[in-house]
């Protein structure tokens, strides 16, 4: 590791915000999973979406 990188690491505080945000969205995802949403998403995703094509 270069000296510059080492020096910067020493004086760099860890940012907490990303961990809070990631945890919050992970919880949101878990709530979605608990309600059975992925099954519904899969049902929709395996059907041809006529709106996407531009005819529905």
């Amino acid at each position: 590791m270069s000296r510059t990188t080492r020096d910067l690491r020493k004086k760099s505080p860890i940012r907490k915000a990303p961990f809070v945000v990631i945890t919050a969205f992970l919880l949101l995802w878990l709530i979605g999973v608990a309600t059975g949403e992925p099954g519904r998403v899969l049902e929709q995703a395996v059907q041809v979406c006529l709106s996407c094509i531009g005819i529905g």
Partner: protein, 297 residues
């Protein structure tokens, strides 16, 4: 590093579109992998798609929310929002720069030799309007007699859907050709507009319209992996302004919502090692050319 990024773009595009049996099945992939969220804009009705499109799924869930609630199903779109939220918290718009097939396509088109133009900065606000109005409000608010809303962005705008789903499926399923009308021609014109514009300007769709890019842009300050400016080294030479494909003036706006972390400013432009990549505040790598901090002019 640019070559690495290109390879990552190719591999990610392939991972999201790795079902190649469609010339025989003449329809889309219908297997269990489609429970996985595509990080970038990749239509789930593309015959080769093996993941779901977060924008498409979110609109479908919101459009069907009233109907679902009446049937005791609480499908608010949390699993979709959670998936792209985690990705946003980790990478933000780095996804756009490294893992979005439609962004990659625009980059390739921009390599066609021609006169190049910028994109007025004010237009970059448009994508937030598309996210709010076309992806959230209209599918939720405008419902038919049976309580179902439409995926407005997919239906009226999305050029990725026209390109990846519309054109291939019209080729694979001739009976669909009889059903095309104004809606299709409108979407086809939008596709041509953005493909043509991408030759002359860098990533016009990403900068002005893409709701997924807008969503990831919300994480520009709080994402785990991002670039950092060392103000003590920056000489304000503005070299970073000239290489940025998104029109970002990095030293003036280091957490810019438009930054796709392509690393061009860090690797190609800054000669003073003022730009570095960090993960959660810890520098991953600082280009070390033995320079000491400079005083500003």
């Amino acid at each position: 590093m640019e070559a690495v990024r290109k390879w990552v773009q190719v591999i990610m595009g392939f991972l999201m579109n790795s079902s190649w049996s469609f010339p025989f099945t003449r329809t889309i992939y219908q297997g269990p992998l489609k429970v996985l969220c595509a990080p970038g804009l990749n239509c789930y009705s593309c015959p080769a798609a093996t993941t779901y499109c977060p924008l498409g799924s979110l609109q479908q869930l919101l459009g069907g929310l009233r109907f679902a609630l009446e049937n005791g199903q609480y499908y608010f779109g949390f699993s979709v929002l959670g998936s792209i939220g985690v990705l946003g918290g980790l990478f933000g718009r780095m996804i756009c720069g490294w893992a979005c097939p439609f962004g990659f396509l625009q980059e390739l088109l921009h390599k066609i030799p021609s006169r190049k133009f910028g994109v007025p900065r004010i237009l970059s606000q448009g994508k937030f309007v598309f996210l709010l109005v076309f992806v959230i409000i209209l599918p939720l608010a405008l419902v038919d007699a049976s309580g179902l809303g439409s995926p407005w962005f997919c239906k009226f705008i999305c050029p990725a859907g026209t390109l990846e789903a519309g054109l291939p499926l019209l080729w694979l399923q001739p009976n669909l050709r009889n059903t095309i009308g104004l809606l299709f021609f409108n979407k086809f014109a939008i596709l041509l507009l953005f493909l043509g514009w991408a030759v002359f300007a860098s990533r016009p769709f990403c900068r002005t319209v893409c709701p997924l890019g807008a969503f990831y842009a919300l994480f520009s300050r709080v994402r785990l992996l991002k670039l950092r400016l060392d103000e003590s080294r920056c000489t304000n030479c503005k070299a970073c302004h000239h290489v940025c494909p998104m029109g970002v003036k990095f030293n003036e706006s280091p957490d810019d919502p438009e930054c796709i972390t392509c690393l061009a400013c860090m690797n190609k432009a800054c000669k003073f090692d003022a730009i570095s990549l960090e993960i959660g505040g810890i520098p991953l790598a600082v280009p070390d050319r033995g320079l000491s901090p400079v005083s500003k002019p």
